[in-house]
């Protein structure tokens, strides 16, 4: 057989991240603890350079390479750029937190970069094999990062739960993929789409496979009833790791939904819509109602994630271009808000004090008016109060749902949005109308963290005032 070298250009960002990940791994071994900050800046420089490379190779958008297993399209490139942004935010916020706790290890950065590589592979996947491998690369890095704080029993427990449930979910996803291969004889996304569109009737094997694939994907995204791992992992892991787990992987999981359900199984839209309606309503309900009784802010944010996942699924299940665009807008803005929310928890935490209970936020306005205002922006944004960007995320999704004629679903969405507003407003009330407990110190943080966190929070306001450009970007890249 003759062998032609595949085109490497579209995958240059991936190769660069891999190379730099290995390089940082080696450099870190020779660094003393005093110079560990070199790893930190090197990782950030890597992400910046990767972003530049991604923009540069974006010229070749729509290029398949590596025997059609890799796709470089503009939708993927936009997803990747937002993934880089959130991973970079995670690294920036994490430095002081780990420094204070003698956990400032190079492994966090190396695993973070490899996890980012996994997300890039998922986003660019055009074949079941690469989807699965990218997902495993990401998941394995996440399990290890959650377990990294070995002295904390909560972190070990969270990692164990995450690992076991994640392995089962991967198995289910893989089983669905193998059934689909058995029924259609192809692993390629485009060819699968063609096969399903041309099939005279839907056979039961494909339907089985669809069920398994949706279960696997919804586990990774954290939709009810596959959400059990989420609150425990969010609460047990160190806050920077929670930030990592809770932000960028959502973008990658959404990309998988687009590739697998929309591109690959788009012909079965009527079938998966019914499944997703159930999952979406359940996610919004559990996420909104159970969060009310939480006393731990990280747990509360976990349930808030679950309810946001409900809205994201709502955008996908509409099955129209406008719906996908709205869901993409929602994912991106949600990830920015989540990064800011966990960033503020990290900012307030100190050695021996995690600041993740709701009562730790009492009277934050007296301690630091500026960051209380930032938290206010984040909470209002998540609740969907105009003019913050969360409002537009919900608005676009609900409009797409109404345009598709599912008014009852939009009504359900609005009802749960109002219920969930209660606990976001509770945090605001604690910050502004309660007195701080005795002995709370004023907020201290390094200069770069203050600036970046403020920028991150103000972005929620800015995107809310001017949602047009981001929505136009989503509209440009999603053309299904």
């Amino acid at each position: 057989m003759t062998f032609t070298l595949p085109a490497f250009t579209p995958a240059i960002p991936e190769m660069f991240v891999l190379g730099m990940g290995c390089f940082i791994l080696l450099v870190d071994v020779f660094l003393s603890d005093r110079h560990r900050v070199v790893t930190h800046w090197l990782s950030l420089a890597t992400i910046a350079a990767t972003a530049w490379l991604t923009v540069t190779v974006a010229e070749n958008a729509g290029l398949l390479t590596f025997s059609d297993m890799f796709i470089n399209d503009s939708m993927g490139n936009v997803f990747k750029l937002f993934t880089y942004l959130t991973v970079a935010l995670t690294f920036l916020y994490a430095r002081d937190y780990f420094n204070d706790r003698n956990l400032f290890k190079g492994e966090f950065y190396v695993l973070g970069l490899f996890g980012m590589l996994g997300m890039m592979v998922m986003i660019s996947a055009h074949n079941f094999i690469t989807i699965y491998l990218g997902l495993e690369l990401l998941s394995l890095s996440l399990y290890a990062m959650v377990a990294l704080d070995r002295d904390s029993p909560a972190a070990s427990e969270a990692a164990m739960k995450y690992f076991v449930l994640g392995a089962i979910a991967s198995g289910i996803l893989l089983y669905g993929m193998s059934l689909l291969y058995g029924a259609t004889g192809t692993l390629d996304i485009t060819r699968l789409g063609v096969h399903i569109a041309e099939a005279p009737d839907i056979n039961i094997g494909v339907m089985f496979a669809l069920g398994f694939i949706i279960v696997g994907l919804c586990f990774k995204l954290g939709a009810v009833p596959f959400h059990m791992w989420l609150p425990d992992v969010y609460e047990g892991a160190n806050t920077p790791v929670t930030l990592y787990v809770g932000s960028a992987p959502k973008i990658a999981a959404f990309a998988l939904f687009m590739r697998l359900l929309v591109e690959g199984l788009g012909g079965l839209r009527a079938e998966w819509r019914t499944m997703l309606i159930v999952l979406s309503i359940l996610s919004m309900a559990i996420g909104s109602i159970v969060a009310i009784v939480q006393t731990n802010l990280k747990r509360l944010l976990a349930y808030s994630t679950i309810s946001h996942v409900g809205y994201i699924l709502m955008g996908i299940l509409v099955g129209t271009t406008a719906g996908y665009q709205a869901a993409m807008f929602y994912v991106i803005t949600y990830v920015i808000m989540a990064a800011a929310a966990f960033g503020i928890i990290i900012l307030l935490a100190r050695k021996g004090f995690e600041s993740d209970r709701l009562e730790d936020f009492k009277g934050l306005n007296d301690r630091s008016p500026w960051f209380a205002a930032m938290m206010l922006i984040v909470m209002f944004g998540m609740a969907g109060v105009p003019p913050f960007v969360g409002f537009f995320g919900k608005l676009y999704v609900l409009r797409a749902v109404i345009d598709a004629g599912m008014i009852w679903l939009a009504v359900v969405g609005v009802i749960f949005a109002i219920i969930s507003a209660f606990y976001y407003l509770k945090v605001v009330k604690l910050m502004y109308f309660d007195r701080a407990p005795e002995g709370m110190k004023p907020v201290e943080a390094s200069l770069d963290m203050r600036w970046v966190l403020s920028g991150n929070s103000l972005a929620i306001l800015l995107l809310g005032v001017l949602p047009g450009p981001l929505m136009a970007l989503c509209a440009r890249v999603i053309t299904f």
């Binding site: 057989m1 062998f3 995958a11 290995c22 490899f114 399990y143 290890a144 058995g182 009737d201 039961i204």
Partner: protein, 205 residues
């Protein structure tokens, strides 16, 4: 005909041993059943003319992974009685859930055609080499997933080292360099000059 008989025998053993893995009381027995399951599925793969994969399955999974697994299982002090606590309590619920799932799947499958046509496996010429066929594609068509699998292994190594390698203050360990450098003159024997005499009533000398 012969092949069909071999297939049925191997498949029966495979299903039986898989059931054994989850039903054996002793974890060591479970692990051994898993070994049996691997060996019989390797036999099935040989029937499909995938002899390279079959051998790799035996060599890697049976020879390396499962042996390690057995070591770990034997090292762990698993108290099966505590693990079984609550089994009777939760058993009825579990049976109900399992029955519902079985009925649902059965209903769906039986009421409609499965729609998948099962062809006979492709037979190859006598000179066919499965190893060669794999070698033709694994570094060419599948080079990208192959590299990704390598990266996953690398992450596995990094994760394992990051989670297990650390210096705990309480543990005692040898320092070979220090042991080699030791000499009788420097540090090993210390001569202490003590004034001779009797210790007084009970105090240490």
């Amino acid at each position: 005909m012969v092949q069909a008989v071999i297939f049925i025998v191997l498949a029966a053993i495979l299903i039986g041993s898989a059931l054994g893995v989850i039903s054996a009381r002793n974890p060591v027995h479970s692990a051994l059943f898993l070994v049996l399951a691997f060996v019989t599925s390797a036999g099935l793969w040989i029937l499909l003319e995938a002899e390279f994969l079959a051998l790799v399955l035996v060599l890697v999974y049976v020879g390396a992974v499962m042996v390690l697994f057995l070591f770990v299982v034997m090292m762990l002090d698993i108290d099966t009685t505590t693990m079984r606590q609550g089994f009777v309590r939760y058993a009825p619920l579990g049976v109900v859930v399992a029955a519902v799932v079985v009925v649902e799947i059965g209903y769906v499958v039986w009421t409609r055609k499965l729609g998948v046509t099962f062809g006979t496996p492709v037979t190859h010429a006598a000179k066919y080499s499965n190893t060669r066929a794999l070698g033709d594609v694994i570094y060419t068509t599948y080079a990208y997933p192959f590299e990704l699998a390598a990266v996953i292994l690398l992450v596995g190594i990094v994760a394992a080292i990051a989670l297990t390698l650390r210096r705990r203050p309480g543990t005692r360990s040898q320092n070979p360099a220090k042991q080699v450098r030791v000499s009788a003159k420097h540090g090993r024997i210390r001569l202490v000059k003590m004034p001779s005499g009797r210790s007084r009533g009970g105090e240490a000398p």
